[in-house]
C-alpha cells in the first residue's frame, strides 16, 4: 500500500505527534521565539568590517595550533601552570573542609531550623556569585596574587559541595544513625559512625570533580589578577603571540583531560 492509499484508507494521514501537545501553547511559543530572535539580532551591533579584517588573524591563530611555542616563554608558562594547580588543589582542600560542616548544617534531617537557614543562605550566595566577580572583589581586598584566587575558589567550592553533599545527607538512611544513637553515643559519634560512612563515597567523588573544575576556573582568574596561568595567557593574547597562547591552551586541555581521567578512576574506585 502506498502512502496515498493509506491516507485514503484511514481518511487522514499519519503525522508525528508534536513535542508540545497543546496547539495554542505550541504556536505561541514558536511565535514568541521567532519574534525574540529577530529582535535580538536587530538590536545586536556587529561590526562586520572589523570581523572580516580579523579573519586573517583568526586563521593565523588556528595555524599556530600546528606549531605551538612552548619554549620562548617557558618559565612564565610553567610558573603559571604550577600556580594554577597549586591554587586549585589548596582551594579544593580548604573548600571541602569548610563545606562539610556547612553541608551538615544545611541537611534538614540533622540540623535545627535557624542553623539550616543560615547554611542554606551561605550556599545560595556562594552559588549565585560568579567566580570572576568574587575574584575581582578579592583582588581589591587582598591584593594581586594567588591568595585572592585561592580564596575565590574555596568560596565557590563551598556552594557546590555544600549543596550536593547536603542533598546526599538528606537522602541517607536514618536507621543506621538511630542504631548508633541507641548505644548512647554523642552527636559527634552519631555523625561519624552513623552518617559519615553513608556520604563518604559521594563526598570523595564530588571533591575529585571539584578539583578538576577548580583547575579549569583557576586558568581564568589570572585575567583579573588573581594568579594562575590566565595572566600569562592574557599577556600572550595582547601581544598577539598566538603560538604561545596556543601552547598554553593545549597544556590546559591536556591537564584537564588528565585530571578528569584521574578523578573518574578515583570515583570508580570509591563507589
Amino acid at each position: 500500500m502506498s502512502n496515498a492509499e493509506t491516507a485514503n484508507y484511514n481518511g487522514r494521514k499519519w503525522r508525528k505527534p508534536p513535542f508540545i501537545k497543546n496547539p495554542y501553547k505550541r504556536w505561541s511559543l514558536i511565535i514568541i521565539s521567532v519574534v525574540y530572535v529577530v529582535a535580538a539580532f536587530a538590536t545586536m551591533e556587529v561590526d562586520w568590517q572589523r570581523a572580516y579584517e580579523g579573519l586573517e588573524r583568526g586563521a593565523n591563530f588556528i595555524l599556530s595550533f600546528a606549531r605551538p611555542d612552548f619554549v620562548t616563554r617557558f618559565t612564565e608558562i610553567s610558573e603559571g601552570i604550577i600556580e594554577s594547580l597549586v591554587m586549585a588543589l589548596a582551594a579544593t582542600v580548604v573548600g571541602v573542609a569548610i563545606s562539610i560542616p556547612i553541608a551538615l548544617g544545611a541537611a534538614r534531617n540533622i540540623s535545627f531550623l535557624p542553623i539550616y537557614l543560615i547554611c542554606r543562605m551561605i550556599i545560595a550566595i556562594s552559588r549565585a556569585l560568579n567566580e570572576v566577580i568574587v575574584a575581582i572583589l578579592m583582588v581589591a581586598i587582598f591584593g594581586f596574587g594567588p591568595l585572592a584566587g585561592f580564596i575565590t575558589l574555596s568560596f565557590s567550592t563551598i556552594g557546590f559541595i555544600g549543596k550536593l553533599l547536603a542533598e546526599e545527607i538528606e537522602k541517607s538512611n536514618k536507621v543506621q544513625a538511630e542504631a548508633i544513637r541507641s548505644t548512647g553515643s554523642s552527636w559527634m559519634q552519631m555523625i561519624n559512625y552513623g552518617y559519615q560512612p553513608q556520604f563518604m563515597p559521594r563526598l570523595i567523588g564530588l571533591s575529585m570533580y571539584r578539583l578538576d573544575s577548580n583547575f579549569r576556573h583557576s586558568s581564568v582568574l589570572g585575567l583579573v589578577g588573581a594568579g594562575g596561568v590566565g595572566a600569562t595567557l592574557n599577556t600572550a593574547f595582547s601581544r598577539y603571540e598566538f603560538d604561545t597562547a596556543a601552547a598554553i591552551i593545549l597544556i590546559i586541555i591536556v591537564l584537564v583531560v588528565l585530571l578528569e581521567y584521574l578523578s573518574s578512576l578515583i570515583r570508580a574506585w570509591v563507589q
Binding site: 525574540y36 591563530f61 600556580e83 566577580i133 572583589l137 581586598i141 591584593g143 594581586f144 585575567l223 586541555i253
Partner: protein, 272 residues
C-alpha cells in the same frame, strides 16, 4: 573492623586494624604534605602586608559601595538585554552545532568508530576544557570587541557540554524502538528522526535550558575582556573606582541569575 585485647585481657573494639590504620595515616601524611607545599607556594607569592590590611580595606570598600547608585539602573537595561541575548543566541548556536556532533560521537550512531568518533570527542573535550572567558579573550583578539565575540565564545564553550550530555543520552537509548522503525524499511535519516530523536528529546530540552542558565551566569562577566554585556559596565565602573555603581551592577547580576535559575528549574520541571 578489628578487635584488640588490652593488658587486662579485655576486648576493645577498633574501627580499623593496624594495617588499615597505618595506611590511613600514610595517606593523611602525604595529603597534608602536598597541601603544605601548595600553601607554601601561595604564601610565597603573597604580599602579606596587604593581607593584614584586608579588613580595613574591605570595610572601606563596603562603606563606599553602600548605598548602591540606583539612578544608574537606567544605563543598565541595554547591557542586560545584550547579556541575555548573548546567552540565549549562544545556546541556540551551540545546540545547532552540538546535535550533529553528539550523533557523530555516540557509539551507536557514529558513521565510523575509528575516524569520526575520535574527532568528535576531541572537539567536545577541547570545547569543554577552555573556560568561556578565555574563548572570549581569543575571539576579541580576532573579531574585535563586541557582542558577537561574546556570543561565539558562549557558543563554543557550550558545544562540548551539550554534545557530551547528548551523546551519553543517545548511547543509553532503547534499541528495540530503533529496530521497530528500521523493520518498516526506514532510511537512516528516518530512523534518526522517528527512532532516536523522540527518545533523547527530553534530555536535549532539559540540557539546553540547564546550559542556558549557566550561560546567563557566564555572559555577565564576558564584558570584562570586552565581549559585550553587563560586564563591560562592571569593568568601566571598577576602573573608575565607582563603587556604588559596582554594587548596583552586582545586585542586578544576582537578580538576573536568580531569575534564570528559577526559569530553568520551572521549565525542567515541566519537561520531566
Amino acid at each position: 573492623m578489628a578487635v584488640k585485647i588490652n593488658n587486662n585481657g579485655q576486648k576493645i573494639w577498633k574501627r580499623r586494624d593496624r594495617r588499615a590504620q597505618l595506611q590511613n595515616w600514610a595517606l593523611w601524611l602525604i595529603g597534608t604534605a602536598i597541601f603544605m607545599f601548595c600553601w607554601y607556594q601561595i604564601s610565597k607569592a603573597t604580599n602579606w602586608y596587604f593581607v593584614w590590611d584586608a579588613g580595613r580595606i574591605a570595610s572601606d570598600i563596603g562603606s563606599r559601595a553602600m548605598p548602591p547608585k540606583w539612578s544608574y539602573i537606567n544605563e543598565l537595561w541595554k547591557p542586560l538585554w545584550d547579556t541575555i541575548n548573548i546567552a540565549t543566541l549562544g545556546t541556540l548556536l551551540a545546540l545547532i552545532v552540538a546535535i550533529p556532533i553528539g550523533f557523530l560521537a555516540a557509539r551507536n550512531t557514529t558513521p565510523s568508530k575509528l575516524f569520526v568518533r575520535p574527532i568528535a570527542l576531541i572537539i567536545i573535550v577541547s570545547s569543554r576544557s577552555i573556560n568561556s572567558l578565555i574563548w572570549a579573550l581569543l575571539l576579541v583578539a580576532i573579531l574585535g570587541p563586541g557582542i558577537f565575540a561574546g556570543l561565539l565564545a558562549i557558543a563554543i564553550r557550550s558545544i562540548g557540554f551539550c554534545a557530551k550530555l547528548l551523546y551519553e543520552a543517545i548511547e543509553e537509548i532503547d534499541r528495540t524502538q530503533v529496530e521497530a522503525i528500521s523493520a518498516t524499511g526506514a532510511s537512516n535519516m528516518q530512523i534518526m528522526i522517528y527512532g532516536i530523536l523522540p527518545q533523547v528529546m527530553p534530555t536535549l530540552a532539559g540540557l539546553s535550558v540547564f546550559r542556558w542558565d549557566i550561560n546567563i551566569r557566564e555572559s555577565t562577566v564576558l564584558g570584562l575582556v570586552g565581549a559585550g554585556g553587563i560586564g563591560l559596565q562592571l569593568q568601566g565602573s571598577l576602573n573608575t573606582l565607582a563603587w556604588p555603581q559596582v554594587s548596583l551592577i552586582i545586585l542586578v547580576i544576582l537578580f538576573a541569575v536568580l531569575i534564570s535559575e528559577w526559569v530553568s528549574a520551572k521549565v525542567r520541571g515541566a519537561i520531566i
